[in-house]
Symmetry: D2
Subunit: 367 residues, 4 copies
């Protein structure tokens, strides 16, 4: 299969280049009779959109979403047929990329696309641009609506845990259960006020020096019941890993105790004891991160994702062109000093897509 | 799709429970006219098999592989038709699991499978057992043969970098290019002799106290050319992440500079400068880990995987049964104090499956 | 997988309801660097569009196609990324369907959709309308361009062989090799002038009495080489059968000698003798219809498709509503007395999609 | 995707050559907790096996089926994990094919496979042999068990309607509802005694003269409810068409009124009027063949399939070899004068696979 689709039963295909006419997605397999709340979809897109604060790229896109198909025109309910959602690009400014036409920007996708396809939509990165994620976020917003209908207590929440060396202190991180509202309350999407302030200062300093910063996003999913996920290759953590690593700039993923647990604990201390509590089976610790054998166990699903510093920096860099010359590149144009605040809704959207598909796959097999 | 298949064009489906009659896989889409070296496949399986050293589970399986289809009976060449490879189980001893029938073992897949399917092949973990990976390793060995035919300089090498808190020193780790022979030279599969010795001691200590240890495996792929991988959801790193997280006990994945680069570097220092060297385009650093925009750039592909301490430990543990009772579980039977040495060929096999599929998908699109 | 996608490597997903804002498709996996001739795509759509002659539905749609993604903005070349093609609906007139809201029209999809989804886009048939095929025709036009690049002598030609009891005489049918120009020369798309005249008269008579007619379309593909198609479930004839039966109103398919050969011939006379002719392997007859064992053998691929009389007829009919009442339905509105002339380019498009995918799948496996 | 898999959620992959060690299939996605009746699976295989009567090939295979995975060893219930079913070949006699090594047998798959793969398992036809269908029949028998659990009144029945020019008279064919027992009562699997006798005589005459015969199989499915099937490319009739045309020797398919209705009726007479009868919605005729808009409407699903005369005939035939020579081929070995009696259970199996997948896909989407 070509690589622009995700999911088996709730299956999305995204399309669009950052400097073409439009960006969008087709959602095939959506359950029928869902009251699609397009304003909620728009709200997610607005959380993702550029220009939302001084911390992110100033490209000014309203990212207004439009549905071309799949909805009943009177009631807005889903018909069970493919839903095409489109956002038209309005602030492309491709001229600002003009000088780079033949240069491979360091740590960008330029050279890879050229080697893969022998051609590239060089302006703004084409499909490798963060604008591609618009389709995912729109689809994820719909997936979350479907999940909420089945699991009203479900809460999918991602937040910025760390930027560069500023992170939420471990003692706070271990016990806190953050909400989307808390994360959204600060433009950094870090829900710990002191850390948020430090991060904001660091991002603004990087911005003013043409530099960029990376960091860590955490994801916690509460209220997702036990028994979802397909073992072996489609383990819930394996699909979450694919989903997260498919986000531009994401370089690492772990689940539950992750890298730390692997190196700091032994089996006796790492295992999560089961315990019946008021008729519900729980574990008294959650180093499994809510997933065992690839299947949810009803405990919170917890993941951590690393995002690298943005590749576009506004200082002279050594690079090469596609004619065999080594050159110095001085990037101009818009610059996103830190992608993490805007990556938060993308992480949540990808998680919603994985869970919605798991829900539907279980429903398809356990007839 | 159900979750037991991996790959698009080089597509494998694994089957078999750890205590059923057999374990195996069907490989659909294999290129025709490949001289399949079944002894090489067997060699990989032998690297993975239990009982290979005192460091791993003593279950004694020869894991003799047999081809049921897809090969020319005279020449052994692949026909382009499905190849079914089977290993019969011989040392099941399901009686040793008898007492656990109704108990959910901590941090095992028991409860997940029960919640997902309402039934479980409880003996030995069924599909969640490491024996499931036999099919992958056999298929991966074939995938590597195909890759070598196209890219004779390709070297896929994984090794144990760390067990618990014993790791290869960073100054050695940064510059060393290890070979499969070096990793296989020690039963720990750690190619750094001092570290290997420390790890061996730690594993034996854990074994004697009924405990288990986790750690880190590193993977480096040299000689894979630029231009492979499908952007967006099937980015090379996204499929590698899915592949690795689908291995039992794997809890984390990162690529290139990974978690460390995200938190310790800024964009100016993190970017990999391009440079033409003798007509070949290289980068002078490799924090991208050989992948940019989801596509290989010709530099070594480098990944790191975390494996948790094995869940089976031979001490009394708090747990619960499927009847609502909290119980104490005293596990008996065979015990694998550390999965990492045997996980090395599984990691290499999954990598080979991802790369072989990427090779074929590119060939299918770039006609 | 949900049912709105077709193809493995050249994979299309169509979307849109006949009375929604737009109809379109996303093509994922298109080879890069193809000079996409959008005017050729438009020409195919114009051959399919309603209102093209007095023989077809008078719904007046220009069916102007627009590309939202996947093309280089300067050169128009394909980028290898998803191509989204959209046609906006302009002449919906959903009010003319207003009375039917609760009635299941005989031999339409109304009841099926209601039973399947519990909701239906009742106006104009939603996804079951012939307008859904716009996306296929646009994608098929692109597929044909790709095929021509590889196989310059390829000719895919469908034509109306029979409407009701008026058919091209067998002696003409057996030897004639028709061209697309010949088929398009008459509004019936029957390339045999006498038969075309008789068919035109019959369709106009049916139209004036509010009735409709069915018939037979034939397809012949010349210049497609041997060795394409995947055996077993994806035999070339099996995918062609799926492709054709997926066209609205198509009720039958056969290949080569088909139903006639099965009942009128014995094996000795039915077999196609092989013969080397000037260094090329041919068969001296072609009852196999160019496909043996699911794989092309280099001879012309020949198929026959049955299309039923259109379900919309303008006379009172016995029917039922969704409230348990038996009713009499008097259909009003636009009426297509015979779908066959417009189905010709749809048949050709579906054939092109099957062949293009077969080309790419072979290229992917035979590396 | 390679071509050896069928189905989305109830997904089978078949493997095995007619002269290799074994034939089989892996069923992935089977619902858990099904009491798999392996003796019923064996009964289906016995209906399909060669050597069952003097009318079919004398190759003597018991076709004993064995389950390698996916079943609980105590209860025999399905685990929800992949089920691998295997039949070992015992009567290969590949020596009898020895002379043909370089000859392309007329109307066989030999040349196609050579052109596709550059290699072929020439003995007995490899994957193009009817033995490949063993895996489908075994999987179809399981699919029928699942369907019966949901729809106890479901009856899937195929029968031989015609061989060469001997067919069940139309007046009998139109009203009769045949059962599997009636079809199986005669070795021809024609349930109309006079026609069965005539067919038997014709097959024996063809056999004695080294010739072969084709004909028509009909399929009727009663008791399958309305609302199953996925519109557009996965219409129920489109997947049935693919399923049937994927059977070796099948050359044609139609549904409901099919070719006859397309050419002999007009819309007014062809439409099926809806009528409420005792609270159930029926149609008073069934020219739609139980499917409208790709979705079942609760009426019997009726299809017709054409099977060509077997390609192996025992007379001298003009042919060619792979060295550029025109030759005369005198086939020896076993000879199946008419495949239709044995194709009946294959047709039923493919129908069961399509319906079981439709059941599961609806269950997955309509959560």
């Amino acid at each position: 299969m070509p690589g622009n689709s995700f999911g088996s039963l709730f299956r999305i295909t995204t399309f669009g280049e950052s400097h073409g006419p439009a960006i969008g997605c087709v959602i095939d397999g959506c359950p029928p009779n869902i009251d699609l709340d397009l304003t909620a979809v728009q709200r997610w897109l607005t959380r993702r959109r550029p220009g939302q604060s001084k911390l992110v790229t100033p490209r000014d896109e309203k990212d207004h979403v439009q549905a071309l198909s799949g909805l009943d025109e009177e009631t807005g309910k889903t018909l069970g047929t493919p839903i095409c959602l489109v956002v038209h690009n309005t602030d492309q400014r491709s001229s600002s990329y003009g000088d780079w036409h033949h240069i491979y920007r360091p740590s960008h996708a330029d050279y890879g696309y050229d080697a893969r396809y022998g051609i590239r939509a060089w302006q703004g990165g084409g499909r490798s641009s963060a604008r591609e994620t618009i389709g995912r976020v729109a689809a994820g917003a719909l997936a979350e609506q479907i999940l909420h209908q089945q699991f009203p207590k479900l809460r999918i929440c991602a937040w910025v845990h760390q930027v560069h060396d500023h992170s939420i202190p471990e003692e706070a991180a271990e016990t806190a259960v953050y909400t989307r509202e808390q994360a959204d309350a600060h433009p950094t999407r870090c829900p710990h006020p002191e850390t948020a302030t430090a991060i904001e200062t660091a991002i603004l300093a990087a911005k003013s020096s043409g530099d960029s910063l990376g960091g860590i996003i955490r994801l916690a999913i509460h209220g997702f019941p036990a028994g979802y996920g397909d073992p072996v290759f489609d383990k819930l953590e394996a699909l979450l890993a694919q989903a997260m690593l498919s986000i531009p700039a994401c370089k690492g993923f772990d689940v539950g105790s992750g890298f730390g647990g692997a190196c700091a604990m032994n089996g006796i201390s790492h295992n999560d004891p089961f315990q019946w509590q008021d008729g519900e089976l729980k574990t008294t610790s959650n180093r499994s991160g809510g997933i065992q054998g690839g299947i949810s166990n009803g405990m919170p699903i917890t993941c951590t994702m690393a995002f690298k510093p943005t590749a576009t920096v506004l200082v002279p860099q050594d690079s090469a062109d596609d004619q065999g010359n080594n050159v110095t590149l001085q990037a101009k144009g818009r610059h996103d000093p830190c992608v993490l605040p805007r990556a938060v809704p993308i992480v949540e959207a990808m998680a919603a897509l994985v869970l919605c598909d798991a829900l539907m796959k279980r429903s398809g097999q356990n007839i």
